[in-house]
């Protein structure tokens, strides 16, 4: 009985050992299987993905640097254009005619239309400030009034700062530069109300009567009101 029991227990032990062996082998083969699967996944999925990712990174960085280069190029191009534009302005400077006090006398006589005259200089800050408004008024009342500007800059600026400023302002009105041995005498020719300060703006009706003047910066609204007044009184051609 005891030997039978011993034999059974030996058999059980043997079975148990065999089962353990089998289990270990199964686990080993399972690990191997996982390893093989991982290798296979690396080969089939990860590596192509990684390669694709790398390609994308390279492509994006290349694209970015290309965009930056393009941006730089773009910023250079307008600068070149600006230089060209500046060159054009300089080469197409408006003509400024030199006049003396005698010519000024003839110039301030209206020629069938109201005459608006602005005395200015490039060194005069308020003159520069009001100039865009003057250009606008000139455009708005084109053919209805005559507008001229008379610069009191030094003669040396007749082909320099004076036409350059006029070009910047896109001023198309006839422009003159007064060169006189005596500003005092020239001022007296224009108006008894002008004390000689710049800017000075004066509006004559077609009969040569001064209907508006302003020493110092003019107020656009007031000057326009005066022009409209001339229009309603029938002084402006329609």
């Amino acid at each position: 009985m005891t030997s039978l029991q011993n034999r059974r227990s030996a058999e059980t032990l043997e079975k148990h050992l065999a089962a353990n062996k089998y289990e270990r082998a199964r686990k080993k083969s399972q690990k191997l299987f996982v390893f093989v699967r991982v290798c296979s996944w690396l080969k089939n999925s990860f590596l192509p993905c990684a390669s694709a990712f790398l390609v994308c990174v390279v492509f994006l960085s290349a694209g970015n640097s290309f965009a930056q280069t393009r941006k730089k190029t773009k910023s250079i191009v307008p600068a070149k254009k600006t230089k060209v534009a500046a060159k054009n302005i300089i080469s197409n400077l408006p003509k400024v005619t030199q006049i003396d006090a005698e010519a000024l006398k003839n110039l301030i006589v209206p020629n069938g239309k109201p005459l608006l005259i602005n005395f200015w200089a490039t060194w005069c800050v308020p003159c520069r400030e009001e100039f865009p408004d003057l250009v606008k008024i000139g455009a708005d009342y084109k053919d209805k009034i005559d507008l001229i500007t008379i610069s009191l800059d030094e003669l040396s600026e007749i082909n320099g700062d004076v036409p350059k400023f006029l070009a910047e302002m896109k001023a198309e009105m006839p422009s003159y530069l007064l060169k006189t041995p005596s500003e005092e005498a020239a001022i007296a020719v224009v108006s008894k109300d002008w004390q000689g300060a710049l800017p000075f703006t004066i509006l004559f009706n077609e009969k040569g009567e001064a209907v508006y003047f302003k020493q110092g910066k003019f107020q656009t609204e007031i000057l326009r009101q005066e022009l409209e007044k001339l229009a309603t009184e029938g002084h402006l051609q329609k």
């Binding site: 800050v125 308020p126 009191l152 041995p181 000689g196 007031i222």
Partner: protein, 198 residues
């Protein structure tokens, strides 16, 4: 009542318009008028009176500017004139009425360029009183503070080909006890940048 207020408003509006349009007209002190004594601060901040600064034969007020190129063109002649006539009892006093020019710059400019006092006319009160509009523009008052001459220094802004020395002629006539032949001449230059008033 409503009509009345509208009428008053309209009158004020017209008056304001007329006065605005002629703001630079020849208002101010007429030649032959007497100047009341006034006080202004100099570039060092000290208060100075006209009567204390004038010479025994009067004073010339010159309206100046730090930035105006026409003033720059005249600076040398102004300094020479001040020296020449100080010896004859007429003192030159500079006035700066430009609201756009800060006191520090006025001080530096005066120290660098002039040997006579420069007063700061804050709020252009004196310029309004005299009717000064230009820089440079001069007012010569004799020993009795009577305005004898008003206007340009001479007829050339850059000093070339001066044919008429308006101010010197007036000063010499006055000092010689003669009548001044030309009592005013238009000054050419920059407009005085007045304080905007509401």
């Amino acid at each position: 009542m409503k009509r009345m207020s509208v009428l008053i408003t309209a009158i004020f509006a017209v008056a304001a318009f007329i006065s605005f349009n002629n703001v630079s007209a020849k208002d101010g002190l007429a030649v032959g008028s007497t100047l009341e004594n006034f006080k202004l601060t100099d570039t060092g901040g000290a208060e100075k009176s006209f009567n204390d600064l004038k010479g025994k034969n009067g004073a010339v007020l010159v309206f100046l500017s730090v930035q105006c190129p026409v003033v720059k063109g005249y600076d040398e002649r102004i300094v020479k004139l001040a020296a020449d006539y100080q010896a004859k009892g007429i003192n030159v006093i500079g006035i700066n009425s430009n609201s756009t020019e800060v006191a520090d710059k006025v001080k530096t400019h005066a120290t660098e360029n002039y040997k006579f006092p420069v007063l700061i006319d804050k709020g252009n009160v004196l310029a309004d009183k005299l009717g000064a509009n230009v820089t440079p523009e001069t007012f010569y008052f004799n020993e009795k503070n009577v305005l004898v001459y008003h206007g340009a220094i001479d007829n050339s802004r850059n000093g070339e080909n001066i044919t008429e020395n308006f101010l010197r002629a007036a000063l010499d006539s006055s000092l010689g006890g003669k009548a001044v032949a030309k009592t005013s001449a238009n000054a050419f230059g920059c407009s005085i940048k007045r304080l905007a008033k509401n």
